[in-house]
């Protein structure tokens, strides 16, 4: 077992419904993610992907089981496990720059360093010139890029992404995926990426973990056979198409 990285150990989760019944969301999920790896959690809606992510992020406690990051037990949210949500969830009262600096400020990074790192990060996500804009002055795609910058700038031990590009149009989604790959190239950030988009999962990750639903269980783990430099232009690749079809058919049966 790798010392660093994420270890999910027999996680079970249940939810109380309003009518009194109990839904078993996750059943004995065990998974490991190595440092520097990008892993996608792929599955139909109701497979518990977001529930698992909330447990790893520390927002919810599981009914049983543990999650460890770098051998430390996770019990609450921390800047070691930053999250990019489906909505940008930016702080409306802060500029793009102040949003990105927020986590650094909590960490007591000195002002000059904060400014530099935030500025550099915003440049990396392509928002140079928009640092002083407020969220409501930015488009949805730009806001999501600020959210990405805000999380990335903290170099978290694990970056959690909960269907972050689902609300964007296809072209924007593709651009954001490329941006993520580009950022990973620079930082080798460990990422757990939740999605229901098969192409997206294959394109950006080293490994795809497929969840089935009712209750959520790991159905299969697939190593993506393409090197990271091949990821930009996969659509024409016949192996990619084959893998995509294979996974899509599997998901269809879940």
């Amino acid at each position: 077992m790798d010392d660093r990285g994420l270890v999910i150990d027999r996680i079970c989760q249940k939810f109380q419904n309003e009518n009194g019944t109990c839904t078993e969301a996750l059943d004995n999920i065990s998974l490991q993610i190595r440092q520097g790896e990008i892993v996608s959690l792929l599955g139909p809606s109701g497979s518990g992907k977001s529930s698992l992510l909330n447990i790893i992020a520390g927002f919810d406690a599981p009914v049983s089981g543990n999650v460890l990051l770098d051998k430390e037990l996770i019990t609450e949210p921390s800047a070691q496990r930053c999250v990019v949500f489906q909505t940008p969830a930016l702080f409306e009262w802060l500029t793009a720059r102040d949003n990105v600096e927020f986590g650094l400020k909590r960490r007591r990074v000195p002002a000059a360093n904060r400014r530099n790192e935030a500025g550099e990060m915003l440049r990396l996500v392509g928002l140079e010139g928009f640092e002083e804009n407020y969220p409501h002055e930015l488009s949805g795609g730009m806001q999501q890029r600020v959210a990405l910058a805000r999380a990335f700038v903290l170099h978290p031990g694990l970056l959690l992404m909960d269907e972050p590009f689902a609300a964007l149009d296809a072209q924007l989604r593709s651009q954001m995926q490329s941006l993520l790959l580009h950022l990973w190239e620079k930082r080798r950030q460990t990422i757990l990426f939740v999605t229901h988009d098969v192409e997206e999962a294959i394109r950006i990750s080293h490994r795809v973990v497929i969840l089935e639903r009712r209750p959520g269980r790991i159905r299969e783990e697939i190593e993506v056979p393409f090197s990271m430099d091949q990821r930009e232009d996969l659509l024409g690749n016949s192996n990619f198409q084959e893998l995509r079809t294979q996974i899509q058919q599997l998901i269809f049966t879940l």
């Binding site: 949210p77 800047a79 969830a89 702080f91 802060l94 930015l138 795609g141």
Partner: protein, 268 residues
């Protein structure tokens, strides 16, 4: 492009007041409006200046404006201050902690059903006639808009915003100070402004019922002596003082929370 607030005076807004002024002047100069009901605008101006400076000595209140104004301001400040402290603390607790809300909210809304004026007799019994009951009435009435708006603002902070704050490393009081407070602040500011307006309203009510110093007292006294001019002049002073305290409040709010946004909506 988003339309911003218009800075400076809007000329269209001045049309109706100007018309009223003209109509008023005409009514008193040629329309036969008796002076005991409505003095002319120019008479009122003289009375107002005299009230402030004592220059003309045309009323028993010449030059006494500042003394009365300061008394009234002290009462408003104390009453509003008390209401603000209670309203904000209870508001944040109630808005942020479900069990606290379940505990205090029902009682507060129960008390609120008795309109402020209905508390006057009880206030006189408990505090006697004078400073005590005035302060009680101002604080009581002013409390509710502050509390209600603070609860609303705090409880409306989206769950995902709180989670964002937490995953970026904000915990406990830091989460309150850096996320909850700025997010809730537009509503809190609305509550404070309403509370201040109510404080002025109940100030007059309180002062009208038995204190000897203060703008409300001048109004009651003036009416009883048949000096409707001083009553109107005092109303103008109250309006101006109210406006100034409102501007002061907004300045303080902006100083506390400089990043207070005026309800910006996102495009994307």
């Amino acid at each position: 492009m988003k339309r911003g607030h218009r800075r400076g005076l809007d000329p269209v807004g001045l049309i109706l007041p100007a018309l009223i002024l003209i109509f008023w002047f005409a009514a008193t100069t040629w329309g036969g409006m008796p002076e005991y009901k409505l003095p002319s605008p120019q008479k009122l101006l003289y009375v107002l200046v005299d009230f402030a400076t004592g220059q003309f000595e045309i009323t028993p209140y010449s030059g006494t404006l500042w003394g009365h104004l300061i008394h009234s301001l002290k009462r408003v400040a104390s009453g509003f201050g008390l209401a603000a402290v209670c309203g904000l603390i209870l508001g944040f607790l109630s808005g942020g902690i479900p069990i606290a809300r379940r505990l205090v909210d029902p009682l507060i809304h129960l008390v609120r059903t008795v309109p402020g004026i209905g508390w006057l007799p009880v206030a006189i019994v408990w505090f006697g006639i004078g400073e005590g009951n005035t302060l009680f009435l101002i604080a009581l009435a002013s409390f509710f808009p502050i509390y209600i708006n603070t609860v609303h603002g705090t409880s409306q902070v989206p769950e995902v915003t709180l989670r964002a704050g937490r995953m970026l490393g904000a915990k406990g009081f830091a989460l309150f100070r850096t996320v909850i407070l700025p997010a809730a602040f537009p509503d809190v500011a609305v509550g404070l402004r309403l509370g201040l307006g109510v404080a002025w309203a109940y100030l007059v009510l309180g002062e009208v019922t038995g204190v000897t110093e203060g703008l409300g007292a001048v109004m009651t006294d003036g009416r009883m002596l048949g000096h409707v001019d001083i009553v109107l002049a005092t109303m103008i002073v109250i309006a101006c003082a109210g406006k100034l305290t409102d501007v002061l409040l907004m300045t303080v709010c902006r100083a506390v929370c400089p990043q207070m946004r005026k309800g910006g909506k996102s495009n994307g």
